[in-house]
């Protein structure tokens, strides 16, 4: 049980790094979007870990952080709903969801 907070932070940090790397490196917009969701999950895991870390002596976690977490999940769902619609519109006009195909706007 009481192995401290570090493993949780490490896992969430790795999750965040994988998500970030995916956003930067991948070319498929759907995969990029999945990686973005992974970054949000990493933040959620961090929040839960810290809320256990700041547990009161009666060992209930700090529920404030849980409230933020539920808002993050809700907002992520809203973001996906709008985002996928935009990606579908892009696919209809370009027949491609490759991020290299969005390059008409340039310096």
């Amino acid at each position: 049980m009481n192995q401290g907070i570090e493993p949780y932070l490490l896992v969430s940090g790795i999750l965040f790094a994988i998500g970030f790397a995916g956003v930067v490196l991948r070319r498929n917009i759907i995969v990029i979007f999945m990686c973005l969701e992974m970054m949000l999950s990493a933040a959620n895991l961090t929040l839960v870990a810290f809320s256990r870390h700041y547990a009161t002596p009666l060992s209930t976690p700090d529920y404030q952080a849980h409230v933020l977490l539920f808002f993050i999940i809700t907002v992520a769902a809203a973001e996906v709903a709008v985002g996928l619609a935009i990606i579908v519109a892009l696919f209809r006009t370009r027949r491609s969801i490759d991020s290299d195909s969005v390059s008409a706007l340039k310096f």
Partner: protein, 495 residues
């Protein structure tokens, strides 16, 4: 009336617009925008009628600030949305050409009601941001604004550039959300509090600054995205150019000003902490220098006016970050820098809205927003050319315009705080600004435009300006000059 009623009224107003469109069989949908504008004008005056919270200690007011700064930024958000709705009215022809596909039997203006309702919801989000005082309310209001912008930027679904701008804004916006959330989680981890006063208390006594600085890096990167500062400002030119012009105006003014008040509120605990303030100032100063250099020098090469305004918006963000960086010299109270930032944003809002109003009329009439569309504008429409001249002069910071005072106060702050290097860069940046703003003026007054057929572009379509936008343009122009003579009247609102 409690202050939070205002946001509820604005949301209801947006719902009313949608309802009237659905059940009311509105013939000319421009009346929907009119409804929105009238409602917002009422809300603007209600802003001065709000009451102080009866029980300031209760939990709700941990989430919601009601200081002068919050009301000031709510005012900016409302006025911006009013101008944007007026701009949207003149934008209907473009929406009909490129907007969501319309079925044969549907109303020819269908899809316009959403284009009015979404900015209203967005306005409510901006007003919440102005009052957000707790990590939860900061996050939720920020996302309300961002997700609405995803829809609005990609609104011209059949226009290649708008869709592309929408996809770019979507991915980079979601990325900045991810960075922000991770930063907020670590800020909570470093302090054990989610409300900003609790965070301030914890940071003042902290002994290990590393977790807080780790959180700060992510938060700064995410907020820099919202306000258009480096290291995450690269989306701005593309999205500004691709988005529908009213949405670009809303992005430039609304998103930036609300982003800055959230940034100020988030930075205050860091700047007040003895241990951290020096490091935070160094980071902010570097951000300001990089933003000023990038914005001003990239703007020198632009030939598209919308893109030019994008780079100019980056350079204005640079001045604003510089004002923020000069906070601790005032005992960390952040009061004077907050006033400077608020004044600068008000001046930028007035100036940029006027520029975008003229731009949207010219680009709709001449089917283009590059420099060529502005050539010879002084002959085709002296009225529009004069307004653009005023706006550009104020952007560059010519004395006796409101933009001059904005830059003047920023420079004054930087001198007080002895930030000599960033100040030098800011002065060079302001000088570069004179070049690219005045090049536009030069094109309007001294060159003649030639259309695709080789003939000079006529004035026929330029005279069709809606009465609402005409009044808004004249009022904004008067504000640029009036507040240029009496900047104190804006500052008085902040006390």
């Amino acid at each position: 009336m409690p202050a939070y009623y205002l946001e509820i009224i604005v949301v209801l107003l947006g719902l009313a617009v949608l309802t009237f469109d659905a059940v009311g069989r509105v013939e000319d949908k421009r009346s929907l925008a009119g409804l929105g504008v009238l409602g917002l004008i009422v809300v603007f005056f209600l802003l001065f009628k709000t009451s102080k919270p009866a029980d300031p200690g209760s939990v709700f007011w941990k989430f919601y600030a009601t200081d002068a700064l919050a009301f000031f930024f709510k005012g900016i958000a409302i006025l911006t949305t009013i101008v944007v709705l007026l701009m949207a009215n003149d934008f209907i022809p473009v929406l009909q050409r490129f907007g969501p596909p319309v079925e044969a039997k549907a109303h020819p203006q269908s899809g316009f009601a959403e284009f009015v309702a979404l900015p209203l919801f967005l306005c409510a989000g901006l007003m919440w941001m102005a009052s957000a005082n707790h990590l939860v309310s900061i996050f939720v209001s920020l996302e309300l604004v961002t997700v609405t912008f995803y829809v609005l930027v990609a609104y011209l679904r059949r226009h290649e550039l708008s869709l592309e701008a929408g996809v770019k804004y979507l991915i980079l916006g979601a990325l900045s959300t991810g960075l922000l959330v991770y930063g907020l989680a670590w800020l909570y981890g470093a302090t054990g509090a989610l409300d900003l006063s609790g965070i301030e208390g914890a940071l003042a006594t902290t002994e290990n600054p590393l977790p807080a600085l780790f959180a700060l890096a992510f938060i700064l990167a995410a907020m820099a995205f919202k306000v258009g500062a480096l290291p995450t400002a690269f989306w701005i030119p593309d999205v500004y150019q691709g988005a529908p012009t009213p949405v670009t105006a809303l992005l430039a003014v609304g998103s930036k000003s609300a982003g800055f008040i959230v940034l100020m509120r988030l930075m205050t605990p860091f700047l007040k902490s003895e241990l951290l303030s020096g490091k935070v100032v160094a980071v902010l100063a570097i951000m300001a220098v990089a933003t000023l250099l990038y914005g001003n020098f990239a703007a020198l090469l632009q030939s598209n006016v919308k893109r030019l305004l994008g780079y100019s918006s980056i350079s204005h963000a640079g001045f604003l970050v510089l004002a923020l960086a000069s906070a601790p010299s005032h005992g960390g109270a952040l009061e004077t820098p907050a006033t400077t930032v608020a004044f600068y944003l008000a001046s930028y809002a007035i100036t940029a809205l006027l520029a975008f109003l003229v731009l949207s009329i010219v680009s709709a009439a001449r089917h283009g927003d590059d420099l060529n569309s502005f050539r010879g504008l002084a002959k085709a429409s002296p009225f529009l050319a004069l307004l653009m001249l005023l706006s550009m002069a104020s952007m560059a910071g010519v004395p006796l315009t409101i933009g001059f005072w904005g830059k003047f106060f920023v420079f004054q702050q930087a001198v007080f705080s002895r930030l000599w290097l960033p100040l030098g860069v800011a002065v060079i940046g302001a000088a570069a600004g004179f070049y690219y703003y005045f090049r536009l003026i030069f094109s309007m007054y001294l060159e003649t435009a030639t259309g695709a057929d080789g003939n000079p572009l006529g004035k026929d379509t330029l005279t069709k300006i809606g009465a609402g936008s005409r009044i808004a343009m004249i009022l904004l122009a008067l504000a640029i000059i009036g507040f240029g003579f009496f900047p104190g009247s804006i500052l008085a609102l902040l006390r």
